[in-house]
């Protein structure tokens, strides 16, 4: 398992999401309304749409294509048409940098 830099803390607004690609994988990095950071797989489990284009509402991410929703803190699928949970990844903040754990 390794930690890699994603971006600076200020690069993501509160209640927003950013796409991050690394080693052929795509991730979605979230900043919650309280400032906490979270990460999931970047593609919706329904039709492989990039979640980074979606809307963050509290602790929910909505797929920009079909209205499927997930809790991005747990990966839980909340609303059809998504039925399969997202995989979550560990995130930490070190020296103003958001870091993602890969290779889990």
């Amino acid at each position: 398992m390794a930690w890699i830099d994603v971006c600076s803390v200020d690069d993501i607004d509160l209640e927003d999401v950013m796409r991050f690609d690394h080693s052929g994988q795509t991730y979605a990095i979230y900043r919650a309304p309280d400032g906490g950071f979270f990460a999931t797989d970047g593609l919706c489990s329904h039709e492989k749409v990039h979640l980074a284009g979606g809307l963050v509402m509290d602790h929910t991410i909505e797929c920009p294509k079909h209205n499927g929703r997930f809790n991005y803190r747990t990966g839980e699928a909340l609303r059809a048409p998504v039925c399969i949970n997202l995989r979550c990844h560990s995130v930490r903040v070190t020296a103003g940098k958001v870091q993602l754990s890969i290779g889990q």
């Binding site: 209205n67 609303r79 039925c83």
Partner: protein, 369 residues
């Protein structure tokens, strides 16, 4: 092309389980990454933001007018004076239901989830659509818009019968087919296409929903028989026929005459300016290219989205009439000319169509042929 003697093109296979479904996957047309205009992230977030206000206002007006027009129709039943009331009631029931069904299926009408869900259920009943099946088919329509073998909601299957095209406006064919589907679903029968886009875990919900719809229709018929009157059916069921004309007037121009098997909504969808009453009935779905590019933008924000990206889109049709006038000749030509579609020019400010994305489609060697 008047007096065109060329034979009709061979009927394409639009089944979701046939060879064109496999072809679409092989060509990369299924679940593809589509072209979209550039909108800054902050602006898009603002456009996608949900609110309850506009839809509560519009729903209160809608339900209020439904009650008033129904009351007028009942009060004057048996007299010619009931006709204008049922004209209004019919459009509110048989046409307005479509846009409310549609927007609530996207979950964008209201911010509050249960409001979306309730209006979705009511509108699904009015428009005679299984609320479970159609939620999934519409998701597929947005994933694979007008991709043959993938999209379950293609309105123009070539060659289009002109008789059936005309009959859409009185709902005879469509409503009858919809009723048959609901009846079939209510008996627990889901066909292969439905099973292609509905997960197994949702099938029982689709059957239950169909049974509820059928029960309401049966009770309505029982009332009509018991009362020796068509009045109950004029209020429930028949408005889907006598009031659906506006739904088709606006709905058919969404994609009619445009391209199949492309992954750029500027080639297969149509934006059209229209009068404010039609826009209210239709909940701004006249901005159809914009809606398909960014389906999570609520209906009330579509005019703003249109203003932002219109320089990257074909010139909108200036009216419903203009849209029909450009669509009908194209549909007629599509009946006899394989692969033809109306290719709309882009303004100089737009990013060009990416021809290479569509070259592999067997029906044509280059787009716009």
């Amino acid at each position: 092309m008047p007096n065109d003697q060329r034979p009709l093109v061979q009927m394409r296979d639009y089944a979701l389980t046939g060879p064109n479904a496999r072809r679409a996957v092989a060509l990369g047309l299924a679940s593809a990454e589509w072209y979209h205009s550039e909108v800054p992230r902050k602006v898009m977030k603002d456009l996608m933001a949900r609110s309850d206000g506009p839809a509560i206002r519009d729903t209160a007006i809608w339900l209020g007018l439904l009650v008033l027009s129904a009351a007028g129709g009942i009060a004057f039943w048996g007299n010619w004076a009931c006709v204008p009331f049922f004209f209004v009631y019919g459009v509110l029931y048989g046409s307005t239901c479509d846009s409310r069904w549609h927007e609530c299926s996207h979950g964008t009408a209201f911010k509050t989830g249960w409001m979306n869900d309730w209006v979705y259920q009511i509108a699904s009943f009015m428009v005679m659509r299984n609320p479970v099946s159609w939620r999934w088919s519409h998701a597929r329509h947005h994933t694979d818009t007008i991709i043959v073998g993938r999209d379950a909601e293609i309105g123009f299957m070539h060659p289009k019968s002109l008789v059936r095209f005309a009959l859409h406006f009185v709902g005879v064919v469509d409503a009858w087919q919809s009723l048959q589907v609901i009846a079939r679903n209510a008996m627990g029968n889901m066909n292969a296409d439905e099973r292609d886009y509905i997960p197994e875990s949702e099938i029982h919900k689709a059957i239950t929903a169909a049974q509820i719809h059928m029960a309401i229709y049966l009770v309505t018929v029982a009332f009509a028989v018991g009362m020796h009157s068509f009045l109950p059916l004029m209020l429930i069921g028949l408005p889907r026929l006598y009031g659906c004309w506006h739904m088709y007037l606006t709905g058919l121009i969404q994609h009619g005459g445009l391209a199949e098997d492309v992954i750029d909504h500027r080639l297969n969808s149509r934006t059209c300016y229209m009068n404010p009453i039609s826009r209210w009935i239709y909940w701004n779905m006249n901005y159809h290219v914009e809606h398909h590019m960014f389906p999570m933008v609520p209906y009330h924000a579509l005019p703003r989205l249109h203003a932002l990206i219109k320089d990257d889109l074909p010139e909108p049709c200036p009216s419903i009439y203009a849209a029909i006038a450009e669509m009908v000749p194209a549909v007629i030509r599509q009946r006899r000319e394989k692969g033809y579609f109306l290719r709309k020019d882009l303004p100089p400010s737009a990013r060009p169509y990416r021809e290479e994305l569509h070259r592999e489609v067997p029906e044509r060697s280059t787009i716009g042929s």
